[in-house]
């Protein structure tokens, strides 16, 4: 970025010196900005900190309650981990809370606050998160472009770092943390058909990467289908006879967060199937209530009740039967 001595020679078809002069004038803002940048960098290297005199001992002199000292039962509070805040040579409490000398020596209302975390913190979300990302960038590779970052969510809004067991890292309590904001998803988890979230067998993080991913909806896998078949591997194929929407995206038919219909289906067969299938081999019949058993109409049982279309087309996820082109075998 050095202009002048390293500037490339004028091209062979260089225009008049007058025009070249205006080019230099146009570079002036860049040069000024560069000078500012150099000045700022120099200022940085000359800075001296205002950390406390005794580190954590200064803090613990006042903050001795278990709500604070719980940190020593977490990964952050392990002195033998050189990379943890309490590891050898690390900044202890001030690694996360920032320099605390002014806070420790201040009095009354003029006492400045250290960096604080959590939903009630007055510290800006960006500052909170940058403190965490200083060490945890690798755990949150895609954080910056993540919806959580875009919606001003701070790490401390979800993580409770001074508790020996962070609720968001335990499936039994994680769902409650996530649904404190994602209220609709919490409601979905109560629907008649749902994944075992409230039962603690799964967590939101079983499928989603809350710190961001390059997949849609911060999924842990690259695509919806790839994610679902991590557990439901029987449906991943490849099959001799494929069902196109299955190969493309499970969420075409299923609502993974919970559904009022069985098997997490978005709608009830035959109507779900008829949203894509018309007359194909057999007519697209109006399966009305008069087709129900005992209704007195023309009984449509095998087409309408029990499994409906799936009574015959049971291999809806794909078939390896040589005669399975209709997904019936």
């Amino acid at each position: 970025m050095r202009y002048g001595s390293n500037a490339r020679p004028y091209p062979m078809n260089a225009r008049s010196p007058c025009i070249q002069g205006s080019r230099y004038r146009a570079l002036a803002p860049i040069l000024v900005a560069f000078a500012l940048w150099v000045y700022a960098s120099a200022a940085v290297s000359a800075s001296v900190g205002t950390y406390t005199e005794k580190g954590a001992d200064t803090c613990l002199d006042c903050h001795e309650d278990s709500a604070v000292t719980g940190i020593f039962r977490t990964a952050h509070g392990r002195p033998t981990d050189a990379h943890a805040p309490f590891g050898h040579g690390q900044l202890q409490c001030e690694a996360c809370h920032g320099p605390g000398d002014a806070h420790a020596n201040g009095t009354g209302k003029s006492r400045p606050s250290v960096i604080r975390f959590g939903k009630k913190s007055q510290t800006s979300k960006e500052v909170q998160n940058e403190q965490c990302l200083t060490c945890h960038a690798k755990n949150a590779a895609h954080w910056g472009a993540n919806a959580h970052a875009g919606n001003q969510v701070a790490c401390g809004d979800c993580h409770t770092l001074h508790q020996p067991k962070d609720p968001v890292r335990d499936f039994r309590t994680q769902t409650l943390v996530c649904t404190s904001c994602h209220q609709a998803r919490g409601a979905d988890a109560l629907k008649p058909s749902h994944h075992p979230l409230l039962e603690g067998k799964m967590g939101c993080s079983s499928c989603h990467a809350p710190h961001g991913s390059t997949a849609p909806s911060a999924l842990k896998a690259n695509t919806v289908t790839e994610l679902c078949t991590t557990c439901h591997a029987e449906n991943r194929g490849p099959f001799l006879w494929e069902h196109e929407p299955v190969a493309e995206d499970c969420s075409n038919c299923h609502d993974a967060h919970g559904a009022t219909q069985p098997s997490l289906l978005k709608s009830r067969p035959p109507f779900l199937c008829q949203q894509c299938h018309d007359v194909q081999g057999h007519p697209s019949v109006s399966y009305g209530p008069d087709g129900l058993s005992g209704s007195g109409g023309v009984q449509r049982g095998v087409f309408l009740q029990a499994g409906s279309c799936l009574n015959c087309h049971s291999k809806v996820h794909g078939s390896n039967h040589p005669s399975g082109s209709k997904l019936m075998r």
């Binding site: 000024v32 900005a33 500012l36 940048w37 000045y39 960098s41 800075s47 205002t50 005794k54 580190g55 954590a56 039962r73 509070g77 002195p79 033998t80 050189a82 202890q92 320099p99 200083t134 690798k138 895609h142 875009g150 404190s180 209220q183 609709a184 919490g186 409601a187 109560l190 629907k191 008649p192 067998k201 961001g212 390059t214 997949a215 790839e226 078949t229 591997a233 490849p238 196109e244 493309e248 075409n252 219909q261 009830r268 949203q275 894509c276 299938h277 697209s284 109006s286 209530p289 129900l292 058993s293 049982g301 029990a306 015959c312 291999k315 996820h317 390896n320 039967h321 082109s325 075998r329």
Partner: protein, 695 residues
Amino acid sequence: MSPRHLVRLIIATVLAASAAALAADPPLVADMANWKCELCPFDKGYDGAVTVGVDYASGANASYGRYYNGMDHQGGYADLSAAGDYVGAEGRHIDYALEDVGLSTRRGLIRAGTYGLYDITLRYDGIPVSRQDATVTPFYTGAIQTLSAGWVPAGTPAGMAALQSNLHGVQIGTERRTYSIDGRIRALDRLSFFARFERQEKTGSQILGAGFLTQAVQLAAPLSYTTDTVEAGVDWSADRRSLRLSMSDSKFRSVDSLLAFQDPYLTLSGNTQFGAVSRPPETDARQWSLTGTTLLPLHSSASMAISQSELKDDSALLPSIYGGTPPALAFDGNVMLTHLAATFSSHPLANWSARGRASYDQRRDDSSTAAWQQYLTDQVPSAMVENSHYGFERTVVDGSLDWRVFRQLSLGIAGDRREVKRTDSVVAKTADGRTYGRARWLPGYGLELTVKGGAAHREASGIDLSRVLLGQDPLLSIYNLSNRDRDFGEVDATLAGKTLAFSAQMSAANDRYGRSMLGLLSGRERRAAGTLTWTPSETLSGYLDGGYQTRTSTQAGRYDTHAPTWAADLRDRYTHWGLGGRWIVRQWDYALDYTHAQANGDTAVGPFGGLAAFPAETTQFDSYRFSIGFAKSEALTLKLRWAYQNYSAADWAYDGVAPASLTNLLALGAVAPQHKVNVFAASFTYRYGKRAGGE
């Protein structure tokens, strides 16, 4: 302004902002000569707890066991759990947790290692799901399902003279057991390696339909699946950047490749009276991926991901039972999946931030292709059909720009575009575009209000008439392959007060499929949900929550003309609410919860203007839970729990469908879930070790 000037201006702005950012936020240096950490209560020693008790579930059945609780029959269950940890010198540690040992939901974890150096974890988890326990079948179950020697085939279940005398009970449900071992070791300052092995076993039975064109039978199909996954990788991280390279290999295996069943009707003839349905094929999936991120100047970051996967299916196909030579004895299935993505974010100035993401996914199906003689439902010789293979290329680009106008107000705009190009599909390409705006208002008092609204449009193009399935109208609005207009809005509100906190979400969306009169015509969703919590002290808390959702859709179909002859209106409504609280007073710990959830499904079908309503589908769930804990000492706690759950459902798909009640379906007699269950539990927990004062 010429583009060249614009570029210079951008460079100048970036440099100036960088300077400002650096000058405003200089890193500091600590003098650590007196940092002894003498007051730090570092964790050391052992600690543990054991819980022993008994649960009794009155009225439990498969319907209750459907909710992953391991209680699928009335009776007593042991309540056994244990947990403990030990931290020794130099950070060596081991901890374990064994939960619900007396139930099939049991799980266990043992983890050992040295903090900051390595960790090894062993896990086990059981997930039982009961489905039906009142189902009956005349088939003797197994990979080959046979009928009794005295079976009398008939054209309808009611005509099967030996049906009633041969029905016997069969349970439907599965149990998933997951075993895993994973480890991580930090090899160098910036490098760590990780590896994982996981085995998932899924056994049990499922309902599987098998049809004969106009008749069908429901089978209780046994299943026994195993999925073994190995994953290994390496993490490299420096101060401002990181990389992860990982590889995985997953093998899915199924005990049975087919389910053969004896024909209970009079449909099959010739040398066999057995039909056969294929079971999931054995497949392998391999993947490698590389992920990286770097923090950039100006509070910016960029990341990328590359991954390549391969799905293979080399399993032998079912032997032809019709004579002739099939084109192949095994299927050479091979699908390649590619994922490329990059993200960028920046907030160079305190009031501005921008985010963006671009990704590309490809599914390329290189599986073998051949023409296969079709015998529909084991009985009807049909045409030769060539197997199709679907592939797609999906490109997604999204971005957002936010501006904090002042401390209390932020405005943002965002948009995304999603383009899918398909091969061997009736629609060659769909392109979805979405734009929306949002405003966030923080008026103070812990209140935060976010309003979001926008519109989306999907355009389908390149209809391939040769791919249109036999008889289907090519203009039919297919859920994911048709033009669609959507408008949507959302309001989020949160209040974080000293004792009261409130969070609510409201949203609305409307879909219109306007290009065709067939298939999906419209969809609409309205929903709201919220929770109010009250925490006046650390020992007292309460909550009240509730929500509402309606989802409606209209669709049209036809018999044989290209004009719609019938329509269907579908509406699902869902409401829930609950309240509860917890109060800890001296040695006593009281907790109470009530939850109510109700779903209603309304279906009306018929000719336009004359829709007839189905009986309503309903489910109603009421749950009461109450517990009392008594801490006799720091080491000993007693707990009594009572839970009552009432679940009722009405479902036209299942109600009244006994094995012989339909003319063309030999059913299993599955019923909609119903249960009324009381669970009484008593347990005591004994804690030992340093935190129980016993070190």
